[in-house]
Symmetry: C2
Amino acid sequence: MSVRKLGRGVALVGAGMCKFGAFPEKASRDLFVEAYKEMGRSVDKGFDPKAIETIYIGNYSSDLFERQGHTAPIMADAVGLCPAPAVRIEDACASGGVALRQGVMAIASGMYDMVLVGGIEKMTNLPTAEVTDTLGTAADTLFEIPAGFTFPGFYAAIATAYMHKYGMTPEHLMNVAIKNHENGSLNPNAQFGVTIPDWMKGRVAAAIKKGKPAPAWQTVWDFLHDDGANPLVAWPLRLFDCSPISDGAAALLLVSAERAHEFSEKPIYIVGTGQASDSPLHDRADLTALPAAHLAAQQAYEMAGVTAKDIRLAEVHDCFTIAEIVATEDLGFFAPGEGFKMAEDGVTARTGAKPINSSGGLKSKGHPVGASGVAQVFEIWKQMRGEAGPRQVPGDLSLGLTHNVGATGNTCVVHVFEKK
Amino acid sequence: MSVRKLGRGVALVGAGMCKFGAFPEKASRDLFVEAYKEMGRSVDKGFDPKAIETIYIGNYSSDLFERQGHTAPIMADAVGLCPAPAVRIEDACASGGVALRQGVMAIASGMYDMVLVGGIEKMTNLPTAEVTDTLGTAADTLFEIPAGFTFPGFYAAIATAYMHKYGMTPEHLMNVAIKNHENGSLNPNAQFGVTIPDWMKGRVAAAIKKGKPAPAWQTVWDFLHDDGANPLVAWPLRLFDCSPISDGAAALLLVSAERAHEFSEKPIYIVGTGQASDSPLHDRADLTALPAAHLAAQQAYEMAGVTAKDIRLAEVHDCFTIAEIVATEDLGFFAPGEGFKMAEDGVTARTGAKPINSSGGLKSKGHPVGASGVAQVFEIWKQMRGEAGPRQVPGDLSLGLTHNVGATGNTCVVHVFEKK
């Protein structure tokens, strides 16, 4: 592992996202225009769009989802930024985080002073089974997919290995879903911004309205154990352990650190970036951790000159509930085998000692895969600037982190943000 | 247009490619392993693969061609380079050139000293009509493709506009095909490494062998005008105006300039890089030039401190014969409307004043789209080091150039190489 300092500093001076959801009337370019405009409004002192020198777009598979390739110049054109160089970055569900990293390097290289980073995905065009197939192409399609794996299956394998090794039960996973829906219920951009208790009450009310017998749930746990309300997807993962299929986009404006105050009253500095790759899951010795996430975090911490303890809040890649638990261990927040206990004890709650996914995470906010890594940064931006409204994490948020995973950790990318 | 110097210099110390062609028994990872090994053999003083710090893979659509996404870590794994960060770059047929540019930035940023750049595409899995459809996704699929366009159609529109404006005839285009097949016949890696006269003779011999009447071609021009031997694809473009459908891969090893002599007796320095985007073709005022190519070239020249006149040889993006003619004008080698005359006069021949596509170009060498921009650099490497064998361009090749185009110039990327 080699970590060197960036050639020069990089600051975030604007961030925006569109509401995540299912938008049959919109193409990904429409969503990106919304996110870009929102980003523009967030730049405290304004900026000239013509000063944007290059564009990175994180996108997993507009090819298969929309039959549209060469997506980066399409997005540049949609927001009126041609002839700025436009580059699409693809690293499966880590595409957004890796696009951010390329934006950071573009500034650090000395070539550019102002860079737009976007993330997009438009997934709901396809029927659910085809979405599952399309996401499956992020795995090794010569060895893994022909063996019958899907992504819920991969993460179910990770969950069962973790349960076997550390004594976790499926009920522990539900703590992550409950927490993330609580956070997401306070996020107006969330696709499923509703708490699980409210969800349960809604289903009871709907049954009564239809003149049907109301379900016999007395507690949240009754609801989450009901095979009808929360069906098994791949044991031990149930519906509420899985992030949804989503449409969405997000956008960030980066500038060289020395120019940050030209644009922003409260810039956020990107002080650490790390990325690592790994073999496909079928070639790994242990399923209970993602080594690439650990390596990426170590690189980012070393570059930033911080440790896991210093991080005040994090957005992590909870494509499935088990993924959040493993992430909090890979990042060094908790020891291996401790993550599920911390979720149970409320340590990762919004008001806990280590708030994780204050946005609602992929689970509640939605997971338009190429956009997710960029939208994570939007949350860090809002929180560290104290602009997160009812979901504001309390205390002094001097250091934040994003953790974005492609496939089963074949790509992991981590960034550290600092308020100076 | 903003052009700044790179934070630090970048050198090419190794280059390799596999033979281009149709290989039904191989996946893109197999082709990449071949190219990587060939690259390894080209590093004069050897290198430790573990010293490779990050990997950029140019690939257009493994998604649609092979139903394999998340291609970069798959390639990193195939050559044993995990956990190095692996990033896929997609900018349609310019993916390879843009991957090189990201590799240059990664070194210039100060983050890395040694970077692997690869390009891959495995296209022949699909039937020809599906390949045409898949390539069509590089255009604007909401506006252009529903109107009936395919890529031969786009470039036919460019050719007819150029003919109308400058008085070119379809016969002028054939000069490009004849030249590039002459060059390609000297390139052992070429998919169709045969001159057009030899092609013609071969067809005559085959007919006689089968006891059929031999075709009545007396000259190359007879052959190229024969609707059977050289059928129309999209008027005025015929079969021999089009690059083929190909499988292939290429690989480059970049290091920081100050370390070049640790690895190479004769490093080649990358002294200029430029890239620009453009609106889809249907939104442009003029079809006879690609403005993004002109801009990219101006950026690369300015960074390198050279002019078009100084360039001694160039590999340009001849996906169709008309594209080479337009490229030589966009790059400033010839005035607008002069390119087709220069091809006719032999100025662009291998032994001419401005040798273009000594490798045989996309036309003869093959066009595995994501690999093409990287394989262009392989040719520049061989030529500038004086290792191109029978196709060696004569004279002192102090400055070389590559020009790589995505779609109809929605992305253009240009690099300038110098032997110091």
